[in-house]
């Protein structure tokens, strides 16, 4: 067992990574730099510049866990209805985009003077977009429920399937023992048969296997949390058996859980874990950068980066415009595709291993990766302003995209009453408020307690999470009522309400909690014990115990 101080290698690495990433994230905040860029820069500082960290198996494992969790969370947001909608788009958009970009990229590279095989590899490099980077940024923007975010995810997953095919072919060409065409065919059928099998498993699990156990454990958040993780990694392992990527396994595992009522709460609980692992992954991306060859390859890198940042989005925009998506949706999706994928690095590394390309091509791919990920992060974060700018000039009209907005149900809560904690007090307040025609949002972590609340909106969740606070529209609420008997959560609610200038009524279930709540400027204290005494007095007068 490792207990001596010198053995704490992983902790030491994580320490450097977290402290540097936090420093860059805070500094980045000052110049409005996307955190993702900050993380990669932190990695460049820790790796190529200071050489403090070298990537080992443990950091690779953490990165892989992060990628799995990210895709699991993406799957968690997709109900079967949403998947049905996106299947067609994924097929058309994925097929056309991959084909056109790969051809375009190859031609560009060839015209720059690279050999044919090298041009094919570079064409492949610029074709795929980074699922991890884009989803992270869209998530940071809080737009994962928007149509363009879902289309982007569908496109990236279609790309993943193509990547799996490409990797299978490359492994066949250049592994330690090259595969025969027959073996390659077997690998292909294994991969695609496995995918079909996993999809079927996800469907069966969503309907028959998962609902009962998860409903049973619903009141124990830690159990649900660990079970969901266990399910995710089980499916990932199964996917691995079929030579499928971690991403596809995790995504399918997420889809199965997405059909359960607790999926939203689970998403919030898993999010911090994913954020931590993905931060480590992005820093390790920076650490892995080989800066020494960059001085030789930068002109070609600039050319290919321009292709990725301009031509690839144009291709996507054009395809989406032709399949009748609105200009807005097409633009936002197109902007999201303007970078290369981490898969490209694997593809190039495999190419180098097989001897098909040289080390300079790998370095070139890395530099294109840094440039496009960094720039597209800014573009994605500021895509709304960018769209307004382009829309004003009218330049987008030449693509003849639909001008009317796509049909999207976006929930925007305003002037509503939020009631948290569906115990007897909470339910009574919800009932009395709805009877008075108020728009009420009832929140609890237990789905069972949210049943039978009439016309009130309901949300399963824990208000300790900032994401829940944003989702419930606390800042625009008329009043926030907490019937909870959890002191810390009530303190946080009072604090958040004071910061947002929203009145709040908090359950002061014991005299000992009153002072702290008053210090937090709680607008109204609900004290059932004291109110009960008043009620008791009234009842005694009614019953003739006390004279009036």
């Amino acid at each position: 067992m490792k207990m001596a101080a010198d053995d704490y290698q992983l902790l030491l690495h994580l320490g450097f990574i977290v402290i540097t990433a936090a420093t860059f994230a805070f500094l980045g905040k000052l110049i409005r730099m996307p955190t993702i860029v900050g993380y990669i820069l932190a990695g460049v500082v820790l790796g190529p510049l200071l050489k403090l960290i070298e990537i080992d198996d443990s950091l690779d494992l953490i990165s892989e866990l992060g990628i799995a969790l990210l895709l699991f969370l993406v799957g968690l947001e997709l109900s079967f209805e949403k998947i049905k909608d996106l299947g067609r788009v994924a097929l058309i958009l994925g097929g056309c985009q991959v084909l056109l970009t790969a051809i375009g990229g190859t031609l560009v590279a060839y015209s720059m003077g690279f050999g044919f095989i090298e041009a094919i590899f570079l064409g492949g490099t610029v074709t795929f977009s980074s699922t991890v980077v884009v989803i992270k940024l869209l998530d940071q923007k809080g737009v994962m429920n928007r149509l363009y975010a879902r289309i982007s995810v569908a496109l990236f997953l279609a790309q993943d399937i193509v990547v799996i095919g490409a990797l299978t072919v490359l492994t066949g060409f250049g592994g330690s023992e090259p595969l025969t065409p027959m073996e390659m065919a077997i690998n292909f059928s294994q991969a695609f048969g496995g995918m079909a099998l996993l999809l079927t498993l996800a469907l069966i699990a969503a309907r028959y296997l998962l609902p009962k156990p998860f409903a049973w454990a619903a009141r124990s958040p830690d159990t649900v949390f660990i079970w969901a993780l266990c399910w995710c990694f089980l499916v990932v392992m199964l996917a691995h058996q079929f030579h499928l990527s971690v991403e596809i396994g995790a995504f399918l595992a997420g889809i199965a859980i997405a059909q359960l009522p607790i999926h939203e709460d689970l998403h919030r609980r898993l999010h911090p874990l994913m954020a931590f692992f993905i931060a480590v992954f992005l820093v390790t991306l920076g650490i892995k950068m080989d800066l020494s060859s960059f001085s030789r390859v930068w002109p070609a890198a600039l050319g290919l980066s321009a292709f990725v940042l301009l031509i690839k989005p144009l291709i996507v925009f054009n395809i989406l415009a032709r399949i009748r998506f609105s200009e807005y949706t097409a633009f936002q999706t197109a902007v999201a595709t303007g970078q290369v994928s981490e898969f490209a690095f694997i593809l190039l590394a495999l190419g180098a291993t097989t001897g098909l390309i040289g080390a300079d091509i790998v370095a070139l791919g890395g530099l294109v990766g840094i440039i496009t990920i960094a720039l597209s992060s800014y573009l994605i974060i500021h895509s709304e302003a960018l769209y307004r700018l382009f829309a004003r000039t009218g330049v987008l009209r030449i693509f003849r995209a639909k001008q009317e907005d796509d049909v999207e149900t976006l929930l925007h809560r305003k002037a509503h009453s939020i009631v948290i904690g569906m115990n007897a007090l909470g339910r009574e307040i919800v009932q009395q408020l709805t009877e008075r025609g108020e728009r009420v949002l009832a929140i609890d972590t237990d789905p069972n307690k949210l049943e039978g609340l009439g016309t009130a909106d309901i949300l399963i969740g824990n208000v300790e999470y900032q994401s829940v606070v944003e989702e419930i529209g606390l800042r625009e609420a008329k009043i926030v009522v907490s019937a909870l008997q959890i002191e810390d959560t009530n303190h946080m609610l009072a604090y958040r309400c004071r910061s947002a200038g929203v009145p709040c009524a908090i359950h002061a279930f014991d005299v000992s909690v009153v002072d702290d709540l008053l210090d937090l400027d709680t607008t109204y204290l609900m004290m059932p014990a004291a109110d009960g005494v008043v009620q008791q007095r009234k009842l005694m007068q009614q019953e003739g115990v006390f004279e009036r």
Partner: protein, 523 residues
């Protein structure tokens, strides 16, 4: 990846069992870890030592860090003297009892010291989760217990430093403890000034908060390393430094997921590293468990009542604190790593920890607390003349509203008798000259002694509404009106169906709040 997957499957099984058996998850995680290790031996599968070691590294850091975040000193406000008295007495006497028992069982001085220290602290993780589940964090005894845990954790951290440096001599131990206290002072400074300042100045999102909190963890751990202290000392003080409100609340959601994940894997890894102690050591474990439970319950109950807590709260505190801490495991791990104790002794401490943690929900049940309350000496002075009262009021259970209710009856000139099973409450009532009977309000003999059938009114504020059934049955054919406080609709229905008059506190409170809303916010 497959290693993590197997650990997660084991954790999933442990959590499922914990839910099914209503036991804390920590001992079950360790048990499942031990079973996993045995299965690996049977099937001759290679155990991924590196992965287990790494999970233990990160898990240790998260464990100590989150314990620090949970222990805000603000909870101690107004109770500092009581908390320090209870914590110090329990820590010292229990440590002494553990040490003497170890010495009597033939262990050498260093081992006896380790065993004494391991026994002296209670588990923050188990107790906090137990209090959260039973919604008792806010109750006076909940605050007492949390304060005691904070003091104990601090003590055990400092003792761990001293013990680890002991081979270098007393002076080295002293300087190491001084350095640890210095690091603690830095944490207090950050807790009091830096964290509130940063909370006011910067509006950080969830991810930045998490990175910031983890950054502080690693910075403190780094400082601890530079000061030649165990990194756990740094991790604990890092947690403490951000335990000030509102920072602790802001990061709790983010750190909660991380700690749930890593702690689950940590305890599985600890379980997998255990070896089953043989022969004598099993007996010794049992002896230590018995000593721990008897001494803790007796000692904490007595001291808590002396410093002013009710009998029930004192007994519940004693029951709740009667387990060893996760810090005991850390102490044993550190001792084993430094070669001061054997792996067998580490396993024995782990078994004591697993067993006492498993026993906690069983022995801290209400039924046991009530049983122990009956062992308390009775006070009979308040019972004088109770049987001669007529047209009086009887309060079954003093409850939270007891004082106001007594005041209301006094204003209307109605004499009152209180029946309550808490000796400390009865003692206070006797001092105020109020008629009172010590015992349960559901006891017919006591209802007769309070002359309930001749009473004008009976008010039930007992913890369980169903306990009032006896009073309702007893007074069914008599004109005495029986009022019963209820919170849940099911309780109200039960009372109405049984012939009582429910005082619906939740409904009353909701109604009052809506009235306030109408007046103040309707526009």
């Amino acid at each position: 990846m497959s290693g993590v997957c197997i650990l997660l499957i084991a954790a999933a099984v442990a959590f499922g069992l914990a839910k099914l058996l209503r036991l804390p998850s920590i001992p079950l995680l360790m048990l499942v870890g031990a079973v996993l290790h045995e299965l690996a031996n049977i099937w001759e599968v290679e155990v991924p030592e590196d992965l287990l070691g790494e999970m233990m590294e990160i898990g240790l850091a998260m464990l100590v860090f989150t314990a620090g975040v949970d222990l805000s000193p603000r909870r101690m406000l107004g109770r500092t003297r009581a908390i320090i008295t209870v914590a110090t007495v329990q820590f010292c006497i229990l440590g002494l009892a553990g040490g003497i028992t170890a010495w009597a069982l033939g262990y050498d001085l260093t081992t006896a010291l380790y065993l004494g220290c391991a026994l002296s602290a209670s588990s923050t993780l188990v107790v906090v989760r137990h209090l959260q589940r039973r919604r008792q964090m806010f109750e006076p005894f909940g605050r007492l217990v949390l304060g005691v845990l904070l003091v104990q954790d601090l003590c055990i951290i400092l003792i761990m430093v001293a013990l680890l440096k002991a081979p270098g001599g007393a002076l080295e131990s002293f300087f190491a403890v001084t350095r640890a206290i210095g690091l603690g002072c830095v944490a207090i400074g950050i807790h009091r000034w830096f964290v509130p300042w940063i909370t006011r100045r910067l509006k950080l999102d969830d991810e930045e908060l998490m990175l910031g909190a983890l950054g502080i963890l690693f910075i403190f751990s780094g400082f601890a390393y530079l000061l030649k202290l165990p990194f756990l000392v740094g991790a604990f003080f890092a947690g403490f430094s951000i335990s000030a409100f509102p920072m602790n609340g802001l990061v709790r959601g983010m750190l909660g997921s991380l700690s749930s994940f890593f702690l689950a894997l940590f305890f599985i890894a600890v379980g997998a590293s255990l070896t089953l102690p043989q022969g004598d050591m099993l007996w010794h474990s049992l002896i230590f468990i018995v000593v721990l439970i008897i001494v803790t319950v007796g000692l904490v109950s007595t001291i808590s009542e002396i410093v002013g807590y009710s009998t029930r709260a004192s007994i519940e505190s004693g029951l709740l604190l009667s387990q060893t801490s996760e810090f005991s495991l850390l102490l044993a791990l550190s001792g084993m790593a430094s070669g001061q104790i054997s792996s067998d002794l580490f396993s024995m401490i782990a078994i004591i920890t697993v067993s006492t943690m498993t026993l906690t929900p069983l022995i801290s049940r209400e039924k046991i607390a009530w049983g122990l309350m009956k062992l308390h000496p009775r006070y009979r002075r308040g019972e004088v003349d109770c049987e001669n009262l007529h047209g009086h009021a009887v309060l079954l259970g003093y409850g939270r509203a007891g004082r106001q209710t007594l005041q209301a009856f006094k204003e209307h000139g109605i004499p009152t008798i209180v029946i309550d099973d808490d000796a400390a409450v009865i003692r206070a009532l006797i001092e105020n000259g109020i008629h009172c009977i010590q015992g349960e309000g559901s006891n017919k003999r006591l209802l007769a002694r309070a002359n309930c059938r001749e009473a004008k009114v009976v008010i039930c504020s007992m913890r369980r509404t169903r306990d009032s059934k006896t009073a309702l049955d007893y007074l069914r054919k008599y004109p005495t009106k029986v009022f019963i406080r209820t919170f849940e609709p099911a309780e109200t229905e039960f009372v109405s169906a049984s012939g009582g008059i429910p005082i619906e506190t939740a409904q009353a409170s909701a109604h009052t709040m809506i009235e306030w809303l109408d007046v103040n916010l309707r526009k």
